[in-house]
């Protein structure tokens, strides 16, 4: 009979027991590592979200009000008429781009007339910014025919659309210090995206901008922002939009931005009910709310204020 050598049952049992203990231990460690890696990834994503949103808002808030020396009462002519501001629904109205002043305008929450915007998060603030951006030449592309431009010299401005650039009415009377600019309008607000995670709709920062067709168009810029509040420095005090009179907007010196950043999805971590105070709004987390939150607050001075 063939003599077989091998492990006894007891040896096998002990080896299996030891092996399983080691395996459990190492699995636990690996699970922990994977979990903390996910958390680290989320916290990095949140920081990225914050810095992106900050960069965008900072750039446009700083430049808001740059009108190459033109003021509210300067003579602005041209083939495209300058409109006075009316808080009408701008969605299908190209006049909105031609309402040049006030160059900064905020709303506490979604104003009634703006409610034509689809699925805007109604409690977040809305900020409208306008400025001129220097350019070399008027675009000759047919798709840009309704793009808005401004020619300026000292105290005179001509507002016109790209297709009308050769009209006589768009020529400046003086040749000195001529400048050519694109007229930029941006509206920052929060919206609910079509994406969902952990059963909740993902909120994102959206920006409406005046496109080459002359209308305002929405684009999603940064995802993962659940609340956004603005306060405005006027006469040395931070105020909410509702406390500023229409004529006060031109004297706003600085904007305080309050953002609440959040992970897009819930994460497996211990969560407790927390409350965040953002300007005049409070954000309360829910009981089983396992999102990551990080408040971000910063101040941006406007560069172009009439002093």
């Amino acid at each position: 009979m063939l003599k077989q050598k091998g492990f006894t049952l007891v040896e096998i049992l002990i080896a299996m027991f030891l092996g399983s203990v080691l395996l459990t231990m190492s699995t636990q460690v690996l699970i922990q590592i994977a979990k903390s890696n996910r958390l680290a990834h989320q916290s990095l994503l949140i920081q990225e979200t914050g810095s992106l949103a900050r960069q965008l808002l900072e750039k446009d808030i700083r430049r808001a009000g740059f009108f190459a020396g033109l003021k509210n009462n300067s003579s602005i002519g041209g083939s495209a008429t300058r409109e006075n501001f009316t808080p009408e629904c701008f969605k299908d109205d190209e006049r909105f781009s031609r309402m040049l002043f006030p160059s900064i305008l905020g709303f506490d929450g979604l104003p009634e007339k703006f409610s034509c915007l689809d699925s805007v998060f109604p409690e977040g603030d809305v900020l409208v910014l306008r400025y001129l951006q220097a350019t070399d030449a008027v675009s000759s592309k047919t798709s840009d025919s309704n793009k808005l431009y401004m020619k300026t010299s000292l105290n005179e401005g001509k507002l016109f659309k790209a297709k009308d650039k050769d009209y006589y009415s768009n020529e400046l009377e003086t040749d000195s210090n001529q400048g050519l600019y694109e007229v930029k309008t941006y509206i920052y607000h929060l919206r609910e995206t079509s994406r969902q995670c952990s059963g909740k709709t993902v909120r994102a920062l959206f920006r409406e901008y005046n496109n080459s067709d002359g209308f305002m168009n929405a684009e999603e810029v940064v995802s993962g922002i659940v609340q956004m509040q603005f306060q405005y420095l006027h006469n040395g005090v931070l105020r909410n939009a509702r406390d500023l009179k229409p004529e006060d907007w031109q004297a706003v010196e600085s904007v305080a931005v309050d953002l609440l950043l959040a992970s897009e999805c819930m994460e497996d971590h211990d969560s407790e009910v927390k409350a965040f105070q953002l300007a005049d709004a409070t954000f309360q987390t829910e009981k089983n709310d396992a999102y990551f939150y990080e408040p971000l607050h910063f101040l941006v001075n406007l560069r172009n204020r009439p002093y």
Binding site: K5, T8, V10, E11, I14, L22, M25, S26, V29, Q32, I33, S36, A40, S43, L44, Q47, G50, S51, R54, L233, N235, G236, V237, L238, E253, S254, L296, H297, F298, L299, V300, N301, Y307
Partner: protein, 142 residues
Amino acid sequence: MSGIFLFKKSTRTIKTVQGFSLIEVMVAMSLFSFSMLGMVSMQINMNRMIQDAFQKNRALSLAISRHEILELARKNAESENYLLPLWEKELSEKIPYVSSHIDQETTSHVSILWVSSQQTVNNCEEIVAPINEEAPENCLRL
């Protein structure tokens, strides 16, 4: 225990000793556990570094806001009197800060010192270069 038991049984039935000795098993297990410990400590270290980075990011954000307040103060002192207490409140809420400082001569540098897991400096104002290869973990000068 198990090692002795195995050894006795094998000497009775077959004369040669086969399998691992107790020493071998212990060396193997200690190596394994050391590597596990290493992985865990690496993880803890990484978490701490992420926390430090988070804190530094907050400090950076606060320092930039402080510069904006400084700029406003050049035009009128009113805004600074109003905004500075708000800024200091935010600073104390967001990071475990020790002190903040403005260079009095130039008013062009803001320095913030806080408590961190790696306490590399005790005085933030002495750091000459704001960004260098060995930037301190608990201080920011902008």
